[in-house]
Point group: C2
């Protein structure tokens, strides 16, 4: 069994409206030291396979096809044995 941890983030040059809203909320709560806020997704997937190199390719395909919108989002992932 492998565990894949996937991080999906909005590309640097794309406006992060959710992040801007959270930044505004934090400022209004008195957290004035907060500069930019970027919000992404964090996914943990259990994979019923032990073949790490095959799993790498499969997770990459999942990200490209479903988990990330590669027009506006970047992704990275890590695999670890569990």
């Amino acid at each position: 069994m492998l565990k894949a941890t996937v991080y999906v983030t909005i590309k640097q040059n794309v406006l992060d409206v959710q992040g801007s809203a959270v930044q505004g909320a934090l400022h209004s709560m008195g957290f004035d030291e907060v500069g930019s806020v970027r919000i992404g997704k964090y996914l943990e997937l259990q994979l019923n396979t032990a073949d790490r190199s095959e799993a790498e390719a499969r997770v990459k395909a999942m990200c490209e096809k479903l988990l990330a919108n590669t027009v506006i989002e970047d992704y990275k992932y890590e695999l670890q044995a569990v």
Copy 2:
């Protein structure tokens, strides 16, 4: 300047409906090796301060008050100098 990276995840004993939906979608796309899928949030905050111990306490307060719903979500965070 510090960068805080915050991970907000749904507690293990709480049903992750978004994760279940993604799991179903991955299965229907032929990724049958996927077991459980858990989806959380990943936040990057720029902090205009250099005091790490103060920043720790402030980020904890931000998580408790706004970034995480501590009834159903866990959070963890890391600070790094930028």
